[in-house]
Symmetry: C2
Subunit: 354 residues, 2 copies
């Protein structure tokens, strides 16, 4: 991290220390230390270093679940939304679901040879990683729709499970489902232990993420809000009713779509939201924080080049093809009182296997 | 019920007795009587008369939750979908949500006077009940979109709650939320007590039903799948982020749309489904029943003119503007082994207040 960046670690700490002195939070600090809790706050997040970010999460949960608090939230309204890529698991160098789709292009062109010489499929088949990484989001979407359509919805579920069982991340040589951030798993468990229902709000396909979300995050598929393709009712050759995945986007969870579709699907504004990407989480984090009473918006900053990755303009680093933390979002976080989590400073460890 | 109808009570009973002798169900009868259960089956559904319909529900739940059963379903897959109008509560003489929207037309034309002399608003304002009842579903949809759009999504939630607190059904002079079928409430509770997660799959707006579903049915808003209007992100005059309801249908849950959108949103085929309408539940019931292993599809027949209503061609009665039970669906139920519930014969009482 360049020390002359306006978003240096020092400035980030200054931001956090400002947040820690906000009236509601300092009140929470007092009441938290004065009351007995089922889970001692100090034990609830063992993979977090002590600091303002960890404390803000503990304080928020205490403040909203303590019946004597002015900010008490009844259990039926305790809703927390988590972005997935870059917030719950690794998104570098390319979103896992995109890797899944790229791996399916070979079979796709066998079935539809006319695609072999058409872009973006031709680039994918070339195997040129650099060229593939440079494909636009529109081209990635074209690949997603082409490789996730035309089959029975239950056959697709099976395909996802089979791929997840064998695919590995090139850097760690481990299944993608092991590359989840242990500190965030602890936040999920801690919030659920305090009556929060946890949801995923992802730009990816709910039909992909839902196949492992329960096992990996403890979040059942019905609590995964994602981009969605149309399903079409029909009958197979044996006259059995089937649902087929169609190459038509019904819900687009990118940008503001994420919070638009979340509220539409689940009927409420979350009390807490966690994200990391300016392009896809900014509106969700802004909207959640703007709600009445105590609200928690948390943005994860990828600033740990050694243990994970460091990227994004908020640290003066180059943009990447995956979700980035822009300067504009950093300013918004500061102005609106979000919590910015430094992976380098706030997380004692990144993965469970470390 | 005309005795010469091919869908007379006698034939319905013949169908049920055929179902009761199917191999899987007779196996369930044996194992149910041989094993101890937390809830004694005979006590679980007290508002149901003993009979083939009640027994089929008890057997299905036992069969899919007994770990020694070949049809055991792991808890994470125990999903049951319930239509609302006509299945969980009264839909006659007009869907409750439509009444809510009709009640809003007055305020709508105050804000948009140009609609006053336009159809279908003109008919609604005339107060001519007969003419209003004859409006087409397309015209009702126009009224729904017009009266549920343009406002902040949280303000709309408040409107729904206020209306529900004062609106009453003309026949019983009671709040609509009391006109829920007690036997179905018992089914919801019984299935949940056995590890099933219960969902509503309605043709109505999820944003309407979700406002009372938790209190009335024990089903949280995130487990209500309904027709959905687009939400749009923006800012109010004080630069606060808001979501606005748009007059644009994103998810249409009518017809096959109900099961298409259910699977799309929740990622799985339910193991059990309950409905009553040929136009909106038929594909869901067919698709659920066609799944592997033990599956339960239940269709409620409105044949109790005295305690509730009797309507629909399956009983040789006239069609109505609300969901009807067609002869085609009756044949399908018979052929595919659904359970048909007679409100008159199978339900000891209809409402909790009786």
């Amino acid at each position: 991290m360049p020390s002359n960046s306006p978003f240096s670690a020092v400035n980030r700490r200054a931001l956090l220390s400002t947040l820690a002195t906000l009236p509601t939070l300092s009140g929470a600090l007092l009441s938290a230390s004065a009351s007995a809790q089922t889970t001692k706050p100090s034990d609830a997040l063992p993979s977090w270093n002590d600091g303002a970010a960890k404390q803000a999460i503990l304080d928020f949960v205490h403040l909203t679940t303590d019946e004597t608090s002015a900010n008490f939230v009844p259990p039926e309204d305790r809703i927390a939304a988590f972005d997935q890529d870059g917030t719950l698991w690794v998104e570098h160098p390319v979103y896992t679901q995109i890797v899944f789709c790229l791996d399916r292009v070979g079979d796709l062109v066998k079935a539809k040879p006319q695609l072999r010489n058409r872009q973006p499929f031709k680039t994918v088949l070339s195997g040129d990683r650099e060229a593939i990484a440079k494909l636009s989001m529109r081209e990635f979407f074209e690949i997603v729709l082409a490789t996730q359509s035309g089959m029975d919805v239950e056959a697709f579920r099976e395909d996802v499970r089979k791929w997840l069982a064998v695919a590995k991340h090139p850097r760690w040589d481990r299944p993608y489902t092991e590359l989840v951030y242990q500190p965030m798993i602890e936040v999920l468990n801690y919030m659920r232990a305090n009556g929060y229902r946890t949801f995923i709000a992802t730009g990816g396909s709910a039909g992909f993420v839902g196949e492992y979300s329960e096992k990996v995050y403890g979040i059942p598929p019905e609590q995964v809000a994602g981009s969605e393709q149309a399903f079409k009712y029909g009958y197979d050759k044996d006259h059995r009713p089937i649902l087929t995945r169609e190459p038509k986007l019904v819900l687009n969870n990118l940008g503001a779509g994420k919070i638009q579709n979340f509220f539409m699907s689940y009927g409420r504004r979350p009390y807490a939201a966690f994200g990391n990407s300016s392009s896809d989480d900014q509106q969700m984090l802004e909207y959640v924080k703007a709600g009445s009473g105590a609200r928690l918006s948390v943005a994860v900053l990828h600033d740990d080049a050694k243990r994970e990755y460091a990227y994004g303009p908020a640290q003066g680093l180059p943009n990447t093809s995956v979700g980035t933390f822009s300067q504009q979002m950093y300013d918004m976080a500061s102005r609106q009182g979000w919590i910015v989590v430094s992976m380098e400073d706030d997380w004692k460890r990144i993965f469970a296997f470390e």
